[in-house]
Subunit: 590 residues, 2 copies
């Protein structure tokens, strides 16, 4: 049985199952959501109007038995934050269950004229359109809980109050194995795009579904073994390795040491309180707060079934109950160092608020930092910052400013130190101190985004080679290669963290490609990863051009060109012509 | 004595007088502010950062004796509202006094690091930098009054609280002959650009200044007579004509009749309450409220000395005291019809608030209408709307949203019916019903702006020919010709309303050119107006390209392409290729 496209027309509340058209037959994950957006969404449409769409697609291998760490779901469409194309992916339960229903993708389109909210329930028998009045106005913790009362053990995709208000920083939540709303397609405001379709939640029950067909089981198994071994061998991902032991926040001390941890709205590259919000500190709290019975704190938590890395954690309160899962590096930085806050409990509580009200933690932390720069609060005021999320939840004017992210907040408070590219704020790596990641921020079609081309691997972690972070040299090529490989990995359904082992261990890279070839029957090897990734990037760039983006959209914020960043006292020095080279091939051949 | 450039460096609080460089020697008004911006401002700089500048220039003939209606001052720089180049000009006292000091332009640059506010006092002896602590936080009515206590009869350029907060919709006020802050360079947020230089007010006393040299007095006098006669002969501008009798709001009934009066956030082209906010209604109130002694209401008010049209008015309260001067067509529409408000007193009080707090009336009315569309208030709620200005004044979060204009308000309230081009909202002519003005909105480098190419003249008023407003045909060429002629007129210092007589009466057109030739010694005639205007437009377009604008920036908002506008039930139909033709010559030769 071949996979289907499920098209859900929210104007008429009608669902149809379509054959996957030939042009999309070889795509999945990000490749497919970007192809749908490229083919079906007018680049100049209003992101919140009736003509934008939300495409949801699991990766190539998602839902296959025993493929490691491959539970990702891609969400794509035109972003209200950047005005360009967006793909944002998340872990959690949804990918495997969508794939389990035999779906290549779900396309949400149209806009109900009655303004009423719907919960979509997807099973092997079709789609039910349920009145969502009972869920409207509620945060994602309650939404997930209520939905599991009726639909236990299902995947739940949903939006919090921010998505209902169609705020540009609204994310899409996916529940994890414990039904916590902690896995987020956070970036780019895709929650607002879902909200603009009038959909509060999507429940997915794949019981009795056809599952994922595997074209060449032998090749798939071969690849799977190679990939699994490489993950189990690499220092960062193996049992007892860096990520399972400390989570992604293991990076806090490392990046701080490198002088690249953006602090107090990107005014310094080191934070004196870094150690207190580091992965080591998280592990210490998890250990220290251990109680007898029912203790929920843990490191090495898995965000989706079948993950063999387990970089997630459950951060507990004094009584041992979870505050939030998970406290990531990006989150600890955004709501911590970048706001001058060194109190982990404050950071954890804010993260929970983000997950509940439904906003991206990176953009939220940046927005608060910019507001602090503009005088709303003092840097370091964790209590004050925490209260701001209630403003978002209640839809107060202040909440509506902050809930739109950094650009809106900067304008409201007259701040010109605005760490954004294409309207999206920068993650936890200072581009003045780590130049390659700056090239990624500047040039990726996604707006400032570390996951789009994670040059931190060779620049800081010594993974996939070793290059000087402060040097400009070769950073354009480096970033492009990473961006292309990432576009491919984002289409596989594998978690991006497989990149660490497969960059260092050759069999892993080959194994990844072989699993994809095995599932799809496509004849591809490790050599095809970058070229195929470039094909995806090309669609995305062309969409953005259609939306009016020019090379000037690929620029660092002006203040980084004249404000020196301590401790290295460096400014952004990579020339515009270098940046323009990164995507020169889109129009000049390869 | 040749004219000088006064350069004021606000980083070091230092003023220098420079010879006018050769490249600018032939420019004045908009041509000069745009040339300064083009030559000295990096197009990708942050509009509120230290590298943007505010250029202030009177027109070619401004300050010459007896040239009619020529008191305009141009303000230019990079706009925080559009991100592109901006020229916004105003009447009032400033132009003549700047010219009287022998200045071609004032350039405000830099940014004080101590964050303190300055009042600049310009006299023939130089520039004084006065601590502005006494004025900070005050509205423009009080600022003007306080400054005249110390500096009577001077021109005062200033910003209200909105400019201090650097809100994107902050305008620059110029006082009128009665020292009211009613003349505004309102559009594009130039008040925020002034605020970002740390300048609260500029006082100009031209006593003893060198005045304006006239190169060829005979030619100047000849042109002046021809122009004056044409103004005195034309039905719209002559004594007892449309503009002096009813002000610009004479258009309310006319445009409403044509089905082109945007109503309730551009959801209809006719407003049932139009007559109540019309120029005729204003004249009636002015007549009806006449009291004995000290009555301030009037029509036929002149906004700057030497005006021979007098289209301004003073709108009185029940006791005969002025509420505001002036109640324009744009204002009556923006704060009236577009918000569904038909109460003139409410509109007048809101207009006063705009002038006091320092925001553009067009953008403010549109922002309120969008907020009404998003559910903040009911359409028609004049009392509720009036209170919103106090939010801006106090800098509450809601005020900071509204004070940024339409795009910010639409995002905050999740509204996708957003009547903007390049981030600036549309004025009082519905482009679906009046196609030529839509081409101007879409293509002018200024963002949606009627004054940039006022095709309403032939499309509605039968001035300069007569064309069908609903037809698409020939509108690209029509708009370009108007845009070019306007760029020239905006450089002369003449009020744009001389366009009505000079379009219909040939000697007026020739006379305008002759006065410019007479003052400057340039050898130009009426035939040179459009070509010279195109030269100005070219600089402006190239600046915008440098800032990252593409043809996609020259598009109508998406909803106008699919929502039918009553009563004509029309959508926007002019093709993108037609729009792209308007400025095709910039890169393809003339």
């Amino acid at each position: 049985m071949s996979k289907k496209i499920l098209r859900i027309d929210m104007t008429h509340r009608k669902a149809t199952y379509e054959e996957v058209p030939k042009k999309w037959a070889h795509w999945a994950g990000r490749a497919l959501t970007s192809a749908i957006t490229f083919d079906e969404v007018e680049p100049t449409c209003h992101p919140l109007g009736p003509n934008n769409k939300l495409a949801i697609a699991p990766g190539w291998v998602t839902g296959t038995p025993a493929s490691p760490s491959s539970g990702r779901t891609s969400f794509g469409g035109k972003s209200p934050l950047t005005g360009g194309i967006k793909e944002s992916n998340a872990g959690g339960l949804s990918g495997q269950k969508i794939a389990g229903l035999g779906l290549a993708a779900i396309i949400l389109e149209g806009q109900p004229e009655d303004g009423k909210w719907t919960t979509l329930v997807l099973t092997k028998d079709g789609v039910e359109f349920k009145d969502a009045s009972d869920l409207v106005g509620k945060g994602m913790y309650e939404v997930d809980e209520l939905l599991w009362e009726t639909y236990p053990d299902t995947a739940v995709i949903g939006i919090g109050q921010a998505g209902e208000m169609k705020l540009s920083n609204a994310g899409i939540s996916v529940n994890d194995t414990e039904n916590r709303p902690g896995r987020y397609a956070g970036r780019g405001g895709m929650g607002a795009v879902m909200g603009a379709r009038g959909v509060k939640a999507i429940v997915i029950d794949d019981t009795g579904g056809p599952g994922v067909e595997i074209a060449d089981k032998e090749l798939f198994d071969l690849g799977r073994r190679k990939l699994t071994e490489s993950i189990q061998e690499h220092d960062l991902t193996k049992k007892g390795g860096g990520l399972p032991s400390y989570g992604t926040a293991i990076l806090v001390n490392i990046i701080n040491e490198a002088g690249g941890l953006p602090t107090r709205n990107f005014s310094a590259g080191q934070f004196e309180g870094a150690a207190k919000i580091s992965g080591e500190a998280i592990a210490e709290v998890v250990e220290k707060r251990r109680t007898n019975g029912g203790y929920e704190g843990m490191v090495g938590h898995k965000c989706s079934p079948g993950c063999i890395i387990g970089c997630s954690n459950v951060y507990p309160d004094e009584e041992g109950k979870h505050i939030v899962s998970c406290l990531e590096y990006e989150t600890a930085w955004a709501l911590g160092a970048n706001c001058g806050i060194d109190d982990l409990d404050s950071v954890a509580r804010m993260t929970r608020e983000c997950n509940d009200v439904g906003v991206d933690t990176i953009e939220s932390g940046n927005a608060i930092a910019v507001a602090m720069d503009g005088g709303l609060l003092k840097f370091g005021d964790g209590e004050g910052a925490l209260k701001l999320f209630d403003e978002i939840r209640r839809g107060t004017p202040l909440g509506r400013i902050l809930g739109q992210g950094v650009e809106a907040t900067a304008k409201a408070f007259g701040v010109h130190r605005v760490p954004t590219v294409k309207g999206q704020s920068m993650p936890a790596y200072e581009p003045r101190a780590i130049k390659g990641i700056g090239v990624t921020y500047a040039t990726t079609p996604m707006g400032a985004d570390h996951t789009a081309g994670y040059t931190i691997a060779p620049e800081i972690a010594g993974v996939g080679g070793k290059v000087d972070p402060l040097s400009d040299e070769g950073k354009a090529d480096l970033s492009l290669t990473f961006q292309a490989a990432t576009a491919f990995i984002d289409s596989t359904g594998y978690c991006l963290f497989i990149a660490f082992p497969i960059l260092d261990i050759a069999k892993g890279w080959a194994g990844m490609a072989e699993t994809v070839a095995g599932v799809t029957g496509m004849s591809i090897t490790g050599d095809d990863v970058v070229p195929l990734g470039k094909g995806i990037l090309k669609m995305e760039r062309l969409f953005n051009e259609g939306a009016g983006f020019t090379p000037e959209a690929d620029r660092m914020p002006e203040f980084m060109r004249y404000e020196k960043l301590p401790p290295h006292d460096v400014v952004w020095t990579i020339k515009d012509e270098e940046l323009d080279k990164v995507y020169g091939w889109v129009h000049n051949g390869s």
